[in-house]
């Protein structure tokens, strides 16, 4: 199987936020919390990424309340998120060299 392409920061955090089902605005707040206030995501960026991940089957529509749509992560999305997490962990581990050289 071909290796998964690296995710953008927006994709990674949206999938993280959707470990708990949520709608657009709720996701934006959760992403801010998860990133310790570091990441502010615009609604256009959020909606664009949601549409793309929905097409790819990483997330799924679970409910509609008026115009608000609630999404949740799918199994494929969870697998992709885990693969990305592993990749980032490996990169961070490799980066330890920097600390050793620094000493």
């Amino acid at each position: 199987m071909a290796e998964q392409a690296p995710m953008t920061e927006a994709m990674y955090y949206i999938l993280l936020a959707l470990l708990q089902p949520g709608h657009g605005y709720g996701m934006m707040q959760r992403i801010r919390e998860l990133s310790g206030g570091r990441l502010e995501m615009g609604p256009g960026t959020l909606y664009g990424v949601l549409s793309r991940m929905n097409r790819e089957g990483w997330i799924v529509l679970t409910g509609e309340e008026g115009r608000r749509k609630t999404y949740a992560i799918t199994e494929a999305g969870r697998t992709a998120l885990l693969a990305e997490y592993d990749r980032i962990k490996r990169m961070a581990a490799d980066g330890k060299l920097l600390e050793e050289v620094g000493k």
């Binding site: 605005y25 934006m28 990441l39 615009g42 609604p43 256009g44 960026t45 909606y47 115009r67």
Partner: protein
């Protein structure tokens, strides 16, 4: 005044539109509706509202309305959906609102413009095809264009100005949208209040549009003052009648067209123009008939060119070479074919004549030229 209409920047000028609507609200006018050329505003207390535009280009023939889910996310963030036109969807955030910018990732916003750019190239190609098809009926050669341009110059000017305006619109749009696209691709966020001098563009854009509409109005005016009447027995303009050529008879009807004698007169910016048709019944079941297209030009320097065009665009003669020069005392120049056609010039007067006197053999250019010289000497 409870509403106001204003011309807005073009649809490809995203930042300029955002600034335009913010400036209008600062002056006390809030956007209500956007049309093709004009936006409608209502009076409000002046405030520093922010306006942002979302570009939405669904696949061909699909619903162009912005997805409800997308509107809901934007509204949850503090944006109010105000108006839309074509691929533009306009949102407003009131003064003091902390509504976040639509895109935190410029590259992703650049992706929303991809289809707009592609569609623009299609528009350019389609316009070129449409203009080509539109130009086809204007004649088989430049001669046809010259002839009709003298008769209806403002219609031609409208066509040319509108063509230039349409091309300018497309080129300007291409330039603007590409600038935004490459700026975003480089990771620089959208400029929501671009400075740039738009005076030249405004003059060109509104000037060309205004002039082309003026030309259209003048064309309508010319059509309104165009008069068609019965042909008088004695000419009341710089044209001749069959009796001037020695052919007398009762006015009749052209047997194969059910057409009767008549005259049409019109005035354009380039000429006074008479289109005359006369037919009389003659002894022995014969008929004599004559078509005349007479131009009194406002610029006599055009006479030679028009005469040449009339010969090129003749009904029967193949081209101008089918004509030979005729000795024509009292006229500047005259040319005739071996058949039924003649073109003559004197000063600002130019005429094309096509006639048949009982039989084909009686066509005598000298007699026609002499009658024209007499008539035009009296003008």
């Amino acid at each position: 005044m409870n509403r106001k209409y204003k011309f807005h920047p073009g649809e490809y000028e995203l930042g300029e539109n955002e600034k335009f609507y913010s400036d209008m609200e600062a002056k006390g006018w809030r956007l209500v509706k956007r049309g093709r050329y004009l936006s409608r505003f209502k009076p409000v207390e002046p405030s520093n509202a922010r306006y942002r535009i979302e570009v939405y280009t669904p696949p061909f023939l699909e619903d162009r309305t912005l997805p409800e889910g997308q509107i809901a996310v934007y509204e949850d963030c503090g944006w109010e959906y105000v108006a839309d036109y074509s691929f533009l969807h306009i949102f407003r955030a009131p003064e003091g609102s902390d509504a976040p910018e639509f895109y935190t990732d410029p590259a992703q916003q650049a992706a929303t413009l991809k289809k707009v750019r592609r569609d623009l190239w299609w528009s350019i190609a389609l316009s070129a095809i449409m203009l080509g098809l539109f130009a086809l009926p204007f004649g088989r050669s430049a001669a046809g264009h010259i002839k009709r341009a003298v008769q209806l110059p403002t219609l031609y000017a409208f066509y040319v100005l509108w063509l230039v305006w349409a091309v300018w619109q497309l080129l300007w749009g291409t330039w603007k949208i590409n600038r935004i696209y490459y700026r975003l691709k480089k990771g620089r966020p959208m400029d929501h209040a671009p400075k740039g001098n738009r005076v030249l563009h405004k003059i060109l854009n509104q000037g060309l549009l205004g002039l082309s509409l003026l030309c259209l109005l003048l064309t309508v005016g010319q059509l309104i003052i165009t008069r068609s009447d019965d042909l008088p027995l004695q000419p009341d303009g710089p044209y001749i009648v069959l009796s001037d050529l020695g052919y007398e008879g009762e006015r009749g009807t052209l047997f194969y067209q059910d057409r009767e004698s008549g005259i049409t007169h019109t005035c354009s910016l380039l000429s006074d123009y008479w289109e005359v048709f006369e037919i009389i019944d003659r002894p022995g079941d014969h008929q004599a008939w004559m078509y005349q297209y007479v131009y009194r030009l406002r610029f006599p320097g055009m006479a030679d060119k028009l005469a040449r065009a009339l010969m090129e665009d003749s009904v029967f003669a193949r081209d101008a070479d089918s004509y030979h020069k005729v000795e024509a005392p009292g006229l500047d120049e005259a040319w005739a074919t071996d058949g039924l056609e003649l073109v003559a010039v004197k000063g600002e007067l130019v005429v094309y004549i096509e006639c048949m006197m009982d039989t084909y053999d009686n066509f005598d250019p000298q007699v026609i030229c002499a009658a024209l010289a007499d008539r035009w000497a009296a003008e």
